[in-house]
């Protein structure tokens, strides 16, 4: 991917379905009931079941892998979680190449849903 240059952008859109958090709980081992039990989530003051932050981070990671040439490209990824993601609403992951230095690029990213940033200050180092 020698063609990657500063200012390049990429985007990934994904809409988690109604049962996504149940499948992700099983796949990841994170069975926190706020993600899988509607009543429990409401009892602790949430609008309902919410997405796992690490699932959303996995969408940010996937956006990098798909745009930049595969899973071996990602060397580092850091994100901050904000607010909460929900099912059945589109999520938009966007990334911008901030810097290219030799065989590495620094990429800034965020994920938004309904206009709110649910992941912010994403920063990745990618092997070119």
């Amino acid at each position: 991917m020698s063609a990657v240059k500063t200012g390049d952008t990429f985007e990934l859109t994904v809409t988690p379905d109604r049962y996504l958090t149940v499948r992700y709980a099983g796949a990841s081992g994170d069975f926190n009931p706020i993600h899988i039990d509607e009543e429990f989530a409401q009892q602790v003051g949430l609008p309902g079941r919410i997405l796992h932050g690490l699932w959303t981070m996995a969408q940010v990671a996937r956006a990098h892998s798909e745009a930049l040439g595969g899973p071996d490209k990602l060397e580092r990824l850091s994100v901050q979680f904000r607010g909460m993601g929900v099912m059945e609403q589109e999520i938009v992951v966007s990334g911008t190449v901030r810097e290219v230095d030799g065989d590495r690029a620094v990429v800034a990213s965020e994920a938004t849903q309904n206009g709110k940033r649910i992941i912010r200050n994403g920063e990745a180092v990618v092997r070119l």
């Binding site: 499948r23 990841s28 081992g29 996937r62 060397e75 580092r76 994100v79 979680f81």
Partner: protein
């Protein structure tokens, strides 16, 4: 809120995770990774891997058992009812493939208090059967004032 900083530097017993092909497929499907290297052993072998390749974020799967004792450690006393995942960083080494055995050690990297909130930072170090560091994770959990 008062936080107990005595546990900074505490390391928990290592957890060993045997990476299976079907678990990688299950995880890849749950996060929408459709690259055949994650799903099809033949596709993975064609590009030089021994078996299907774990997506980088599969780190959460093999780190899970190592991180839990810290979250439940009475020395830290994390209040789950008010805990949120604040931020996360992973740094990756060689890719993990089915058949690997990953040993993860978790350490309390920092405990602090800012603006009435407690910050609990764990670091996980995951190595494969060859001793290569495949992932270092930094997990920041925030506990809001109850």
């Amino acid at each position: 809120m008062a936080v107990n900083t005595d546990a900074i530097g505490k390391t928990y017993p290592a957890a060993v995770y045997a990476v299976g092909r079907e678990k990688i497929r299950e995880y890849a499907s749950a996060v929408g990774e459709h690259n055949p290297v994650h799903l099809d052993p033949d596709a993975a072998r064609r590009v030089g891997f021994a078996d299907v390749v774990a997506p980088p974020m599969f780190a959460v799967v093999y780190s899970n058992a190592a991180i839990l004792p810290g979250l439940f450690d009475p020395d830290l006393g994390i209040d789950f009812a008010h805990m949120v995942h604040g931020s996360q960083e992973f740094r990756w080494g060689p890719l993990v493939v089915a058949g690997d055995e990953i040993t993860t050690t978790a350490t309390v990297k920092d405990v602090s208090e800012r603006g009435g909130m407690g910050f609990y930072v764990f670091e996980t170090d995951s190595r494969n059967q060859n001793g290569d560091t495949v992932c270092v994770g930094t997990w920041t959990n925030i506990v809001r004032t109850g």
